[in-house]
């Protein structure tokens, strides 16, 4: 949490996850479809094919005094340095897991990287919400199998099954992480509820 010179409180929320899991699609869906939020511009650094090269960013606010600066990261393995930079000052994480069975290991690697970077702050000081995305895939992996790979059993985190292309579950997942970061700051909670 930080304040700007006008006294507005900022929280940094990051969509994290493996390449092509639906991070940008989720943020774009929120940006385009959720009413009742004031929004700034949508900044995107992407490659010529439209894949995130560095990050996407947009400031969202439910009340003028509190702003959620929402970022996505580039999911491809070679962009690890960029992800580390974007992670600085993070207040909350939405992990976007891919339901495609061929992406189970990629989900695991992405979560491992996140754990390595945030260490014991993940799920405690920095709340975590899981989105299991692409649930409309005909061959979608079993939810339990995906969660087992993520190895988060010790963390009692909110989990949402989502379809980012249709916006299903996205708003709820965003509300959940926003609520977690606000409650954590308000009541100084250290563990997930």
């Amino acid at each position: 949490m930080k304040k700007d010179k006008d006294g507005r409180v900022h929280f940094k929320i990051i969509f994290w996850g493996p390449s092509l899991s639906g991070k940008t699609t989720s943020l774009r869906w929120i940006y385009s479809n959720v009413s009742g939020l004031s929004k700034g511009g949508f900044t995107s650094i992407e490659d010529p094919t439209g894949r995130t090269l560095y990050f996407d960013y947009t400031p969202l606010s439910a009340s003028g005094d509190v702003i959620f600066d929402v970022y996505t990261v580039a999911g491809q393995k070679r962009h690890k340095h960029q992800r580390k930079i974007i992670l600085q000052g993070v207040d909350g994480i939405i992990f976007v897991a891919d339901s495609d069975p061929s992406q189970l290991d990629a989900n695991e690697e992405s979560m491992e990287e996140l754990k390595e970077l945030l260490k014991d702050r993940l799920g405690t000081e920095v709340p975590l919400v899981i989105m299991i995305n692409k649930r409309d895939l005909p061959n979608a992996a079993d939810k339990e199998e995906i969660l087992e790979k993520l190895n988060i059993a010790t963390m009692d985190v909110p989990i949402y099954e989502t379809i980012a292309t249709k916006g299903i579950g996205i708003k709820r997942a965003f509300q959940a992480i926003a609520r977690e970061v606000l409650l954590r700051k308000l009541y100084n909670l250290k563990t997930m509820t």
Binding site: K3, K5, G7, T43, Y57, D65, L186
Partner: protein, 154 residues
């Protein structure tokens, strides 16, 4: 407690001191725009987005310098057909200056160095106040509670 008008004064002095300077943005290293100043422009600009990129690009360049073991990063310069962007470290923040293409580069460097020294002190104090910001501070609590209520409405 720090007077945030100090930021405005330093940025405003900087923008006035060279005619080719169009915008000045102060960001922290997490991408948050802390303060900015602009000369009049018809072209609307998303300052928060520019600040986020400026911070990310500067920190990424610093990382490159570390990886290559070539010392501290002094200045990032991006040259475009119709303008230039300069970014320099100022303690825990990054000072970003957007100029016309024909600006006096030596002068901009000098002015940025001066402003960065002034900003470093103010910014360090501003940010250290934030790390000790108590969640119990009544005004902040009110803002957070109100945001929490609004969150359930959208």
């Amino acid at each position: 407690m720090i007077d945030v008008k100090l930021f405005e004064k330093i940025l405003s002095d900087l923008i006035k001191s060279e005619s080719g300077i169009r915008k000045v943005i102060l960001v922290d290293r997490t991408g948050l725009t802390i303060a900015h100043a602009s000369k009049f422009s018809y072209y609307p600009v998303d300052i928060d987005g520019i600040g986020a990129i400026a911070s990310a690009v500067f920190v990424a360049s610093e990382e490159q310098g570390k990886n290559l073991d070539i010392g501290e990063l002094m200045l990032v310069t991006s040259e475009f057909e119709q303008g230039k962007i300069f970014a320099a470290s100022c303690g825990k923040g990054v000072l970003c200056v957007i100029t016309d293409s024909d600006v006096n580069i030596g002068m901009v460097r000098l002015l940025m160095k001066r402003a960065a020294t002034e900003l470093e002190k103010v910014l360090d104090e501003f940010l250290s106040e934030q790390t000790t910001l108590p969640a119990t501070e009544e005004k902040t609590r009110e803002k957070l509670k109100s945001a929490l209520d609004k969150l359930e409405e959208f």
